[in-house]
């Protein structure tokens, strides 16, 4: 019953007026930056860090955490309404969410995203509280070989995930991996494919690619059509979920939460893998799988839950080991250190107010986000009724500002334009941008872990099958690949026979 006592203690801390206020401020800011394309939590938190210096450490970290998961909530709004993903995890949300919006079910998509995230947040908060230290040992048991196999599995998922031609999706994954090679080589520090442009030495910007390939390309496509048709849907449709939609979404939310909670603990690609993995899982196992590609609610409910669960459990390595899992967490470490607190295993005993207060505030924050977001859905959806000729210049301006603010560099804006044009060409050629993006995200990580595993094993390839985690991942990947190839080969055969006949 220690857990309950601790959680009650945390609630006491989180529910103090000051902490509650800053949690609310954090959630509001987070939602706002999530909705504004391109402006991410990293830039915002680094800007707001000085403000937190005057506050007690617990209050500061509660507000920063609020910004972080608030941004996850807000990010799905633009992904669903405008096909504009600002983060890796919301790329998946565009796939079914935007299609739902086009069918007039934007309200339902936003509602399930909010409800699913809340459920996932609740479950993973309890998980962080109950088994944080235990889960840390899971993260520690992942070696480079295991990471490589996990990423490889992710890439196979990306190819399976694509709609239409397998060949085209494999090609797009390859293009993504190739783009991911640009930049400084982690092992030797050498520059690869940068053509002497200093801005490319840290690689091509993810946000530029995501915005260009999805958002900008979509705008160009919409402008091709006469305005009457380019407005998404004159009838907004009911905001509430139908009974049928609710029934279909529940199992997806639960599956997504479970997957996200586990993958979130892994540093690096955890959260991204979680939402992609959940999408893939829903496509294969959910009852609505035949609707995927036309706006299936499972494709929103699962990944949204998964990414929220992952963003909560990604606090575990930070809180228990003092090791940040991503850039936002690194900023949190910075904020704590400036406050004179060293995050790490001792934090639980040395700073119980902070540790349990933060955990309790995660749940309070999730509740707040639900309260903030649900009534706003009606407002967001009304946005769709704004005539497109007013809408698209505003989107473009916000994208430009957002991308510029990443590095305060115009180069990123040019990059976005280039990928916008490329994305337009791709959609004309019926090439899916999603596999390219996952290739871009996973490719470089996979290379890094592969080469590290090889360095550590002195070039012995057997490490990949000798380690049980790695071997399991590879086996699942192999099965997935076989499952994907077999029907498509037989389908091609059918097509060939028909053509021949």
């Amino acid at each position: 019953m220690d857990l309950l006592a601790n959680l009650a203690h945390g609630m006491g801390v989180a529910l103090s007026l000051n902490n509650l206020l800053f949690c609310l401020i954090g959630c509001l800011i987070g939602t706002a930056i999530g909705v504004l394309p391109g402006i991410g939590p990293v830039a915002t938190i680094s800007l707001l860090l000085p403000i937190t210096f005057g506050q007690p450490a617990t209050t500061a970290i509660i507000m920063l955490a609020g910004i972080y998961y608030g941004a996850q909530y807000g990010g799905s709004t633009t992904a669903i309404l405008l096909n504009l993903p600002g983060e890796v995890s919301s790329v998946v949300t565009t796939l079914e969410g935007y299609k739902m919006a086009r069918r007039g079910r934007a309200g339902a998509a936003l509602t399930i995203a909010a409800l699913g995230s809340f459920f996932a947040g609740t479950v993973s908060t309890v998980l962080v509280a109950a088994s944080g230290p235990l889960l840390t040992s899971v993260a520690l048991s992942f070696g480079p070989a295991d990471y490589f196999s996990l990423m490889l599995l992710g890439l196979i998922i990306a190819a399976v995930l694509a709609q239409g031609s397998v060949l085209k999706s494999v090609a797009m994954v390859t293009v993504g991996v190739a783009l991911g090679l640009v930049g400084t080589d982690v092992q030797t520090g050498q520059q690869r494919f940068t053509f002497g442009i200093p801005e490319l030495s840290d690689g091509v910007g993810f946000v530029s690619i995501a915005m260009g390939m999805f958002g900008i390309a979509e705008i160009i496509l919409n402008l091709e059509r006469p305005e009457s048709r380019s407005v998404l849907s004159s009838k907004v449709g009911s905001l509430m979920l139908t009974k049928e939609e609710f029934r279909r979404a529940v199992p997806s939310v639960i599956r997504g939460t479970a997957l996200g909670s586990v993958l979130g603990i892994l540093p690096g690609g955890g959260a991204a893998l979680a939402s992609f993995g959940s999408y893939m899982m829903e496509r294969k196992v959910s009852k609505g799988r035949h609707e995927f590609g036309t706006g299936a609610i499972e494709g929103v409910a699962g990944p949204e839950s998964a990414n929220n669960a992952a963003s909560q459990t990604s606090f575990i390595p930070l809180l228990t080991l003092g090791i940040p899992a991503n850039a936002v967490m690194a900023l949190m470490v910075g904020a704590l250190i400036i406050q004179g607190i060293q995050p790490g295993p001792r934090m639980v005993e040395a700073q119980p107010d902070l540790f349990w207060g933060l955990i309790a505030s995660m749940w309070v924050g999730n509740l707040m986000l639900l309260v903030i977001n649900l009534p706003m859905i009606g407002m967001w959806v009304k946005l769709l009724q704004v005539p497109y000729r007013y809408m698209y210049p505003s989107i473009l301006i916000f994208c430009a500002i957002g991308v510029y603010s990443l590095q305060n560099n115009v180069f990123d804006v040019y990059q976005t334009v280039i990928f916008g044009i490329f994305g337009y060409l791709c959609s004309k050629l019926r090439l899916e941008p999603a596999p390219m993006l996952i290739g871009f995200v996973l490719g470089p990580m996979m290379e890094e872990h592969l080469r590290r595993a090889m360095l550590l094993s002195r070039g012995d390839w057997m490490v990949f099958v000798e380690r049980p985690i790695s071997a399991t991942m590879l086996a699942i990947g192999f099965v997935a690949l076989a499952a994907m190839l077999l029907p498509s080969i037989s389908r091609k055969k059918d097509a060939a026979i028909q053509e021949g006949g």
Binding site: V42, A43, I45, S46, L49, P50, F53, A139, L140, S141, F142, G143, P144, T184, D185, V186, Q187, T188, G189, Q190, Q191, G196, I197, P198, E199, S201, D202, P267, G268, P317, L321, G322, I323, P324, A327, A330, L331, V333, G334, I337, I338, G340, Q342, P343, G344, P345, R346, Q407, N408, N409, Y414, E448, R452, L455, L456, R458
Partner: protein, 327 residues
Amino acid sequence: MSWTLRRRALLAGLPLAAIAERPALAQGGAWPSQPIRLVVPFAPGGTTDLVARLVAAGLQERLGVSVVVENRAGAGATVGSEMVARAAPDGYTLVMSNIASHGISPSVYRGRIRYDAVTDFAHIALVVSNPTVWVANPRSGIRTLGDAAAKARSAGGLDVATSGAGSSNHLMVVRMGQLIGTELNHIPFRGAGPAMQAVIAGQVPMMSDSLPSAANHIRQGSVIAVAMASAERHPSFPEVPTFREQGFDLASDSWFGLSAPAGTPAAVVERLNRETRAFLSAPEIRARLAELGGTPGDLSAEGYGEFVRREVALWAPLVQASGATPD
């Protein structure tokens, strides 16, 4: 690419314009009258960023104008540094100069960066220096550098993790290999965090890290401090022997300082040096830095300039030996 060329041409014209403006500034003498930009050539969240934010908060209080931290990461901290080298030398643009941007990268990116770490800057003050510490996994059996050397000479060799290729830690690994007489198996990571995690998990037995990022893990006992790469033992970790005590002639601190574009009025540089040193001597700042394992700097502006010159010369041969060049 025409825009890049145009931009370069524009930038080339900037120093002239700035020189023309300078007398006006000297007459006014009202520096600082507007917000000051402090460019951090790394992404937010790292040690440089952290130190910069501490300094920014301190200077803001003492100068009475806001000091805004701006992150301009990229290319071994050279992108942000180059921007400052070409900014107007009016005292309103500063850079958090550091061992990467002004010590190692000039050699790593030789011929590719368009600034000179020594002559294109008015170096202001050394803010903090952090010793490098070598840590080992408690189960690795490595307790001393002698153990490490023995393991390195054995058939399996010794894996040493670092925060990345071309970092000062990487070069330390190269240098240590030279001293032991056999190459160490350098395992670079993306940042100190993941590298430390691999050492704690036992995937890599050893790591070369800066003391602030390792200090807490040493205190918790999740890693063992094997040797401190500084001239003397560190006051916060008096039980950890230095490299020299263990028979290896290696001492290297990583450092952070404040620099402005060359041509910044001497009065401004002096004022900034004075304020920075005053801020750094405040007991609570000293305590905060000591807890992190850092030593606050106390050099004159000329002293820091000389320090940077020595560092550039020191690292050049090691960069050559490490093979860490971008081409």
